[in-house]
């Protein structure tokens, strides 16, 4: 057995250099085995069952014993290498004495007999120590040999196939061309293939037709829109502040920046540096400053009675944690209050990272969605308009307030030290609230009560509402994007007791996570002078073990529905182990320094690599045992199949029906929404004013997102309140109700149906086939065709006998009615189209 005198990665690199990438040695294999045994088998047990009291958290450590460090474990004789029977650890975990046994019974976390055996055999084999896999930087792995190497299209497949073969399994055959076309179109653009794309691809019989298709889609401007969605979820982008006031903000130029960055395949290192520290780049371009809007997307609390500093500290918490989740795949929240229980992140580390973001001039007292620092994108004309409108409103407000004070005083009675009023309670409280915080019902009450006695006052109220509307419209046109900036004078940062803003502990300075620092450039700098730019550069440093892995893992999750590391948000000790560790490292290496001459940090390169693999191109149809043995497809023995995200289901329905508005970018729009949603959530303070015309059919990316109540048409969508990198797919009746009953889907179905009647051909069968082709890019099989026609017949009978019902159905939505069509026919086909839009296959990636 080789002792660990030089670091594991050094060995790997040396071997890689000397022997090239295809030859292995026994020594290496043994070493590799013991090493991976520690990180894959031993560390998870120790971490889960022991580290709570014997891990990195110094405050909670019991008996001064650390099991996360070899020295401590050996010195205390908890572990005696080679001798499990003499190791105190084994004695304790096998003890029957409730006072002796570990973990203590009250933690309810006993070790299983298998786990005990694993620990014993590891100690007996010498207790070879290693390190958590994710803390070591990825090294380009050797491409494994496979039996059926003819299946391998690129290295991705070698890793997948060798694992399958080790389990005596085989991959599924390639999906059909039309399945591939639909799958890859949805994955890369979030839309079904256009008619011209269908014919271009299906008529291309050259050998690399599929690869060319992938390249065409990667070049489509729709690619950036598709990629932006997941980034917006992670960046907690919304069009309002959240919390009680939930005021609006104008961050959409930042959203458009993201779309463009993906479309231009901006290398991920630039993408990172621009968003984290674009403002600190010497001679920064306005676009680079705009990019820093990323870290101002957090919620803003305008609640009365809040302490400004408390707000400000919360914003910095959010920035710290969002950044570490996205770039490092680390969940830092626990280290706000105490050293991390499992990962080598101390509370001090947390606040050192926090201090990078703690330098902005943001005060916490400004509850506005345009609080400084901002990138002002308004025009002088817009500013003048707003000034005028505000002045007019404020002048009248003053008059109204004075009047209302008089009205209240008129009703006041003070008797026996108690105060009462002769006004009805509702009127009194409505008056007290003042014109700014009333709900529409309050205005009605006032109108009813003062209708006769105070006509002039009521006219003033009416005028005031009008002026407020004018002012709000002018205000909404003012685009100011909140961005990052550092104050000239650094702000002192302190560790905080339990994360409480005013309970200061020791002073800390910006510093990179101590467990991962290996960067001589930043180490040589005096601590004080480190800033966000250093942090961003450290994320992208070749020595950083996490950024590349964490990022390619998210891309994998986007394409396969689940990451190679299932816990996309946690690469720490308690996160799940990668299903294909070498594949993950291979992709990370290709991301950092590709071999084929592609530029480094190219997102499109990684996506192309994955999409052109045989793994991705497998059919998703598989025998029952494949589904039952591997329900989550962790072995990748079949193609990716999962329900589409709800935003994509909407975009797809709009595209299939032909309603989709292709316009890109600009202020967010308000499509259909059931009445009263905003009003109910905001006590009537916010009224949803739906847009009309083309705006109704914009892509989901551009829908206005009110943070406390997001668009109701989406489901399983992160709420955009805090960072979310995990995709969630559930299956509930409420989802069915949306896609069956929401006006967006019903209107899409009736326009889809009208087009089928007009363009699908002259017979029912031709039209049914046309519908199938449009929605699923394939022809129906005979059984499906028969079911479609049967369904049509039933619906036809229903609507022929009820012309009124038919008329109602075909008028759904605001797009013009198709009056040239027979109403009952159109309604019957509408039902068929709504059914097709709700097929499991339509809702899923094929």
């Amino acid at each position: 057995m080789l002792h660990r005198t030089i670091s594991q990665s050094t060995i790997r690199i040396a071997i890689g250099f000397i022997l090239g990438l295809t030859v292995s040695t026994t020594t290496k294999a043994q070493q590799e085995q013991e090493h991976s045994r520690f990180s894959r088998e031993i560390l998870p047990i120790l971490s889960d069952r022991c580290f709570t009291c014997h891990g990195p958290d110094s405050a909670k450590r019991k008996a001064d014993l650390r099991l996360d460090q070899r020295d401590s474990a050996l010195k205390s004789k908890a572990i005696v290498p080679g001798k499990a029977s003499e190791s105190e650890l084994i004695a304790r975990i096998t003890s029957h004495d409730p006072d002796e046994v570990m973990p203590p019974p009250k933690l309810a976390k006993p070790l299983s007999p298998e786990q005990v055996e694993t620990l014993k055999s590891w100690i007996n084999a010498g207790a070879v120590w290693g390190q958590h896999w994710a803390w070591e930087k990825p090294v380009r792995p050797m491409i494994p040999k496979t039996v059926h190497s003819e299946w391998v299209k690129n290295p991705v497949d070698a890793f997948v196939l060798s694992r399958l073969e080790s389990k005596s399994l085989q991959p599924q055959p390639e999906a059909t061309r039309t399945e591939l076309l639909r799958r890859v179109s949805l994955d890369l653009t979030g839309l079904p293939p256009s008619e011209s794309e269908v014919s271009a691809f299906l008529n291309d019989n050259t050998p690399y037709a599929y690869e060319k298709l992938v390249d065409r889609l990667l070049a489509s401007p729709r690619f950036g829109e598709r990629m932006a969605w997941d980034w917006l979820d992670a960046a907690r982008y919304a069009d309002t502040n959240g919390y009680q006031g939930d005021g609006e903000r104008t961050m959409w130029p930042w959203r458009d920046w993201v779309v463009q960055a993906f479309n231009n395949d901006m290398p991920f290192d630039q993408f990172t540096v621009n968003q984290i520290a674009g403002d600190l780049i010497p001679k920064a371009h306005p676009d680079q400053i705009l990019a820093t809007g990323f870290n101002r997307n957090h919620m803003i609390n305008g609640e009365g009675g809040r302490i400004a500093e408390e707000n400000r500290v919360e914003y910095v918490f959010d920035q710290t944690e969002t950044t570490s989740t996205i770039w490092l795949g680390l969940t830092m929240t626990c280290a706000r209050c105490h050293d991390h229980k499992f990962d080598p992140i101390s509370k001090r580390d947390y606040y050192q990272l926090f201090s990078f973001f703690n330098q902005t001039p943001v005060s916490g007292s400004d509850g506005s969605g345009q609080s400084a620092p901002v990138l002002d994108m308004t025009t002088p004309q817009q500013q003048i308009q707003l000034r005028k409108a505000s002045a007019a409103y404020n002048a009248l407000l003053k008059v109204v307030l004075a009047k209302e004070t008089k009205l209240r005083e008129a009703g006041m009675v003070i008797k026996d030290g108690k105060y009462s009023t002769t006004l009805p309670v509702g009127i009194e409280s409505t008056l007290r609230k003042g014109p700014n915080s009333r709900i529409p019902e309050n205005d009605t009450e006032l109108t009813n009560y003062y209708g006769k006695s105070q006509p002039e006052y009521l006219l003033q109220l009416q005028e005031l509402r009008k002026l407020r509307q004018v002012r709000d419209t002018a205000a909404s046109k003012m685009t100011r994007v909140m961005v990052m900036a550092d104050s000239p004078k650094p702000r002192d940062t302190f560790a905080l007791t339990r994360g409480t803003y005013d309970k200061l502990e020791s002073k800390v300075s910006p510093r990179l996570l101590s467990a991962f620092i290996n960067d001589p450039r930043t180490e040589s700098k005096p601590e004080k002078s480190l800033n966000r730019l250093d942090l961003a550069n450290w994320f992208m440093d070749p020595e950083n073990p996490l950024t590349a892995r964490v990022t390619v893992n998210r891309l994998w999750q986007m394409l396969f529905g689940m990451g190679i590391v299932k816990t996309t948000e946690d690469f720490g000790l308690q996160g799940q182990l990668p299903s294909h560790p070498e594949l993950l490292d291979y992709l990370a290496s290709e991301f950092q320094s590709p071999l084929n001459g592609s530029k480094p940090w190219s997102t499109k390169h990684i996506i192309r690599l994955i999409l052109t693999s045989a793994t991705y191109r497998q059919s998703a149809s598989a025998p029952a045992e494949s589904w039952s043995n591997d329900p989550e497809n962790r072995l990748l023995g079949r193609g990716p199949r999962h329900r589409l995200p709800s935003w994509m289901i909407r975009d797809q329905a709009l595209a299939i029906s032909g309603l989709l508005t292709p316009a890109m970018g600009g202020p967010s729009v308000k499509s259909y929404q059931p009445t009263g949603i905003w009003e109910e959530a905001t006590f009537g303070n916010k009224t949803y004013v739906q847009d009309h015309g083309d705006a109704l059919y914009r892509r989901s990316l551009y829908l206005f997102w009110r943070r406390i109540v997001g668009p109701t048409i989406f489901f399983d969508s992160p709420n955009r309140q805090t960072c979310s990198v995990k995709s969630v797919i559930t299956n509930t009746p409420l989802h069915a109700l949306i896609t069956l009953n929401d006006v967006t889907y019903v209107e899409a179905a009736r326009v889809f149906a009208g087009n089928a009647i007009r363009h699908g051909g002259s017979t029912d069968a031709l039209r049914a086939k046309w519908i199938f082709q449009k929605a699923l890019v394939r022809s129906p099989n005979p059984n499906e065709l028969q079911l479609m026609l049967k369904s049509l017949a039933k619906q036809r009978a229903i609507f022929q006998s009820d012309p009124t019902a038919a008329q109602s159905l075909i008028k759904t939505g605001e797009s013009p009615p198709m009056t040239d069509l027979n109403a009952a026919e159109h309604a019957a086909w509408t039902q068929v189209c709504l059914m097709v839009l709700n097929l499991d296959e339509t809702l899923s990636k094929p």
């Binding site: 009680q244 939930d246 009675g305 969940t331 229980k341 499992f342 006041m412 108690k418 009462s420 009023t421 509702g426 409280s429 709900i439 019902e441 309050n442 816990t567 308690q574 996160g575 998703a620 149809s621 598989a622 025998p623 999962h642 059931p674 009445t675 009263g676 109910e680 959530a681 006590f683 303070n685 309140q721 805090t722 559930t730 299956n731 509930t732 009746p733 409420l734 989802h735 069915a736 109700l737 069956l740 009953n741 059984n783 079911l787 369904s791 039933k794 229903i798 009124t804 019902a805 008329q807 159905l809 008028k811 309604a827 039902q831 059914m835 709700n838 097929l839 499991d840 296959e841 899923s844």
Partner: protein, 482 residues
């Protein structure tokens, strides 16, 4: 108790679910509907229930804003004796208040603005603002020694409902449905309804993280029934589509999906077929739920004049009873309007009028139907209100009380709770819980206990840690168990 009709209709529903699809639905597919049966994801509760449950259902009448314990339940003659005089520093100590009064140096004692009396055989002290609650005092258990760590609304409510002041943890209803599953075949297991005072004097928002499933699978999230329009969004068929037309379409949709399943093999397709069927069931069961035409007039009258107004607290209370009758496990009502900073004299009474009769009617109604034994009812807010005045003593018209986390009152009834008792107590000023203090985590541990759950053993693995509702705290309040 279910009525015989309910039993029949539940069986019918189940049979029709199984019967209509030729292939039949596996029980696994059915189990995933709304999280019926407990679910093995993460690490669950190690064999639930952990012990024989006393309660099957919970109705939580949450009073947002912070009801004033010193005006409603916690009678303190000392406040009258020292009216207008500074509350002793020895009592206040270093207590923190919200920024509304943290700058105020005068803290004059303010006695109750109502009248207290003792009620029932148990002799519970209840204010005349709560006349109906007073009448059922012998069914209630008052906990007068509640305390919390939070002084602002949203964090304090989040703490009560999720065990943590920071948004993002699963709420109590999600934990319970995750752990225990639900019985109802055509309604969600965890339903939320909100209301607010008529004058809308209080601007507290109902954040969706109050009923979020947090990191639990999203099917355990509370389903919010809306106050107006469809109680469930998108419940109504599109204009012109009859129930018949929908039925026909769903049958064909199901047949087409079965065709897909036969060659793809993805079991998720079977679940989807079942979920579409469930959506059809809900289109019936939800309107039936909200149809009050068969409720006797005298019962409706007990709930008060607002009972027919959708979105009122009274309406939500009778809905809560109808929901538990139909097998819904956790009904979370949230009623806003208890935040009397500057309008104690006018608004507190209004607030009590809106909520007192419906709350009491609900308990009586459950009792008459034999449901109280298996239904735990909880009434209370996120904190109490200061025994001292917010504002100036001479400005009577704007008297108020600030948020007060150090002592307040919550009552519980039914579901294994000892009736007719008062537990714990505050000091002479109602300032601090001194006798048998009860923390928020203690209350949560007790609720779980009544449902047959050991709060230390119902956990879920997320981001590498086993989380539970009570974090690492909480003990069951044994003496209030029947």
């Amino acid at each position: 108790m279910q009525t015989p009709e309910d039993v029949i209709s539940a069986q019918f529903t189940r049979r029709s679910l199984f019967g209509q699809s030729a292939m039949g639905l596996g029980s696994a597919a059915l189990a995933s509907l709304f999280g019926q049966q407990s679910q093995g994801e993460g690490i669950s509760g190690n064999g639930l229930p952990h012990h024989t449950p006393k309660a099957k259902n919970v109705i939580y009448l949450f009073q947002n804003g912070g009801p004033s314990h010193v005006d409603l339940f916690d009678y303190k003659p000392e406040l009258s004796r020292l009216k207008g005089e500074q509350i002793p520093e020895s009592i206040v100590g270093k207590a923190r208040f919200s920024t509304m009064t943290s700058g105020q140096t005068a803290r004059p004692c303010l006695p109750e603005i109502s009248k207290f009396a003792q009620h029932g055989q148990s002799g519970a002290t209840v204010s005349d603002f709560m006349a109906n609650t007073a009448k059922i005092a012998d069914d209630l258990c008052f906990i007068k020694s509640m305390h919390t760590t939070q002084v602002n609304h949203a964090p304090a409510i989040t703490f009560f409902l999720t065990g943590s002041e920071m948004p993002g943890r699963p709420s109590m209803g999600s934990w319970l449905t995750y752990g225990l599953g639900v019985e109802s075949q055509n309604l969600p297991g965890f339903v939320v309804m909100t209301s607010r005072d008529k004058e809308a004097s209080c601007g507290q928002i109902f954040y969706d993280f109050y009923w979020s499933s947090g990191f639990l699978p999203s099917k355990y999230q509370g389903v919010k029934f809306r106050g107006g329009g469809d109680p469930v969004l998108y419940l109504e068929n599109p204009p012109g589509v009859s129930r018949n037309a929908r039925r026909a379409m769903l049958d064909d949709l199901s047949a087409l999906n079965r065709d897909t399943f036969s060659h793809v093999g993805d079991p998720e397709i079977q679940t989807r077929i079942a979920q579409y069927e469930m959506s059809y069931q809900m289109q019936m069961s939800v309107p039936e739920l909200t149809d009050l035409s068969n409720e006797p007039e005298n019962v409706l009258a007990e709930y008060g004049p607002d009972v027919r107004r959708a979105g009122s607290f009274a309406y939500n209370c009778i809905m809560a009873r109808r929901l538990v009758e139909r097998g819904v496990k956790f009904v979370q009502l949230l009623h806003a309007g208890w935040d009397q900073h500057r309008n104690l004299n006018t608004q507190l009474k209004v607030q009590c009028t809106d909520t007192d009769a419906p709350s009491a009617a609900l308990v009586r109604d459950l009792k008459r139907r034999g449901l109280l034994d298996e239904t735990l009812v909880i009434w209370g807010g996120e904190f109490g209100r200061t025994p001292f005045l917010q504002g100036k003593i001479e400005e009577i018209k704007s008297w108020g009380r600030d948020h007060h986390p150090y002592a307040f009152t919550v009552w519980m009834a039914g579901g294994g709770i000892k009736p007719g008792m008062t537990y714990g107590g505050s000091d002479d000023f109602g300032f601090k819980a001194v006798q048998d203090p009860v923390s928020v985590h203690d209350l949560q541990a007790t609720i779980l206990h009544l449902l047959g759950i050991d709060h230390t053993r119902l956990t879920f693995r997320f981001q590498g840690r086993d989380f539970r509702l009570t974090d690492v705290h909480g003990s069951v309040i044994k003496r209030i168990l029947s």
